[in-house]
């Protein structure tokens, strides 16, 4: 039970729940709430439903903004205890409520979504009333929006667990009551998962528990608060990457059996013309400079984490001027695999280890931006798909080194 719950309509049962996690989203939460209401009425009118805001006791009036949004669907406000923050903590409160309500389906949407339409609710929810237990979104994003997804989460999860989930940390999901109960067991729960690690944790558990997964086409691009990949990295990087690395340890028996990836079913095509997302500006020089600063700051760590041939190749890359920076995908895959191995063995502060990966990520993103600069979104998508194949082809590198160590002790 959350510390604070307001349930003005005294809802006790629901077939379908729309959950909106938030912290200080008073300015934005009304729009997704309204769209969720319209979607539930239009496409799930024969089912009992409720919209739940799972909040972190926001001081900016998120609760009032949510509860005062006019809707026909009843609403519930939940909050974590005072001082407890994190998207993962919000969602665990939501899952407990979904289970208590006996809901068959739960749709999760971000509170800062500007482009959501009622069809998003249909497309994230309808597959859950077919045979699917986990629905990930499929939307067009600008080639520089979602750089952690494009350069780490998607290729890594795809090559490791063998499932192509294009937006594994997209923020919008559809989940069945069955997988909610799996989530409530909180396998491998930790501080990273209780924050931004929650999305990749949910996706990984769905794959590893063999829950039928589908990707659902949203029809419109994801438009939310724009983020410069260099300026807005924040703690998200370590929470997402730390969770990916952490979960490799218990799920080793699963991923060891995987060699090549498979596609997932797709739902919801035929929604009209593709709308282009707004462009995302990237400070390439800033990315490059932070990459170079990492050389001075972390070179000794890199030498210990990376295999000698990988470190040598990386040093060649650090000598390239920005205009000619080329950070090969195979090198990037080997670096991530070496870091995953080091993370498994490392007994010290793992945050420090992940900090040393961030400049390499900036270098990689800078190279990605330069390579895709003149590409259309579709061409960049093909390029990303090609990168994923390189990760899959590099898998034997990981398989041979995992468990044997790699590089020196950090």
């Amino acid at each position: 039970m959350a510390l604070h719950e307001e349930n003005p309509s005294k809802v006790k049962r629901a077939d379908i729940v729309v959950g909106i996690p938030s912290y200080n989203e008073a300015q934005t939460i009304s729009h997704p709430t309204t769209q969720a209401d319209l979607g539930l009425l239009q496409f799930f009118g024969d089912k009992s439903s409720v919209i739940i805001n799972c909040d972190n006791n926001s001081p900016d009036g998120t609760k009032e903004a949510f509860l005062n949004t006019p809707t026909k669907t009843p609403k519930i406000y939940l909050s974590t205890p005072s001082g407890v923050r994190g998207k993962g903590n919000n969602l665990i409160e939501l899952f407990a409520k979904v289970n208590e309500l006996g809901a068959h389906a739960c749709i999760i949407i971000d509170a800062d979504l500007k482009s959501i339409t009622p069809r998003w609710i249909r497309n994230l929810g309808e597959p859950l009333f077919m045979d699917f237990g986990f629905v990930a979104p499929l939307y067009v994003r600008h080639k520089y929006d979602g750089t952690i997804t494009n350069n780490i989460a998607y290729p890594f999860i795809r090559s490791l667990y063998g499932r192509r989930v294009r937006q594994p940390i997209g923020g919008e999901f559809g989940i069945s009551g069955e997988i909610v109960r799996i989530y409530l067991e909180r396998e491998f729960w930790n501080n990273e998962i209780s924050q931004f690690g929650i999305d990749i944790w949910m996706t990984t558990l769905a794959i590893a528990h063999d829950i039928p997964i589908c990707q659902s086409y949203m029809g419109r691009p994801k438009i939310h608060r724009p983020k410069d990949p260099g300026a807005d990295l924040g703690p998200m990087f370590e929470q997402v990457v730390g969770t990916i690395f952490n979960m490799m340890i218990p799920y080793e028996p699963y991923w060891r059996k995987i060699r090549w990836s498979k596609p997932t079913a797709v739902f919801g095509f035929g929604l009209g013309e593709m709308e282009l997302p707004p462009s995302v500006e990237v400070d390439q020089e800033g990315l490059y400079q932070r990459f170079l600063q990492g050389v001075a700051q972390f070179q000794t760590v890199w030498k210990k984490v990376l295999a000698p041939e990988v470190f040598a190749k990386l040093m060649e890359v650090t000598e390239l001027v920005r205009e000619h920076l080329d950070f090969p995908t195979q090198l990037w895959a080997h670096i991530l695999f070496d870091y995953a191995i080091a993370y498994q063995r490392f007994k010290g502060d793992k945050k420090m280890l992940l900090d040393s990966l961030i400049p390499l990520y900036f270098g990689r993103v800078c190279s990605f931006v330069q390579r895709t600069d003149r590409m259309s979104i579709q061409e960049a998508e093909e390029y990303i798909d090609g990168q994923c194949l390189v990760f899959e082809e590099a898998r034997p590198y990981l398989d041979e080194r995992w468990g044997k160590g790699g590089g020196e002790d950090v």
């Binding site: 590893a208 218990p250 028996p253 699963y254 059996k257 095509f269 061409e379 093909e382």
Partner: protein, 132 residues
């Protein structure tokens, strides 16, 4: 022996694929159109489908959706003479996309990978449910 269903409206392509893939040790059956394709899959139980995109009277990408809605895990490789269709987001539901060529090296490699992936996942499921 793995069974492969080749769906293509060009007889020469069906013949080429059948010859070459049979030589690789696969059992190959063919269909010249998308008519009753899902029923054909139901009857024949192929392990993999090679599907042309521009079929007379049928859109291979729509057929792919139809197959996926019934057969979640059946490997499907899209084949087309044109690279441009690869940019259609619907192709994401396929295991691979191969541009047609008289050299079948890439197609054979994609067939091998798709069937290898199928084998490893099935093995995972059989042994321990695929979980931890």
């Amino acid at each position: 022996m793995y069974k492969i269903l080749v769906v293509d409206d060009e007889e020469s392509i069906r013949f080429l694929y059948q010859e070459e893939l049979t030589d690789e040790g696969y059992e190959v059956i063919t269909a010249e159109s998308g008519y009753r394709l899902v029923e054909r899959i139901e009857e024949e139980g192929p392990d993999l489908v090679i599907l042309d995109i521009k079929l007379a009277g049928y859109d291979g990408l729509d057929l792919l959706q139809e197959i996926r809605s019934r057969y979640y895990d059946l490997p499907v490789i899209l084949c087309s003479a044109y690279e441009v269709f690869k940019r259609d987001i619907k192709t994401i539901a396929a295991d691979a996309y191969v541009v047609k060529s008289s050299d079948l090296t890439q197609l054979k490699e994609m067939v091998r990978r798709a069937l290898e992936g199928r084998t490893s996942l099935e093995r995972g499921s059989d042994e321990d449910g695929g979980g931890v």
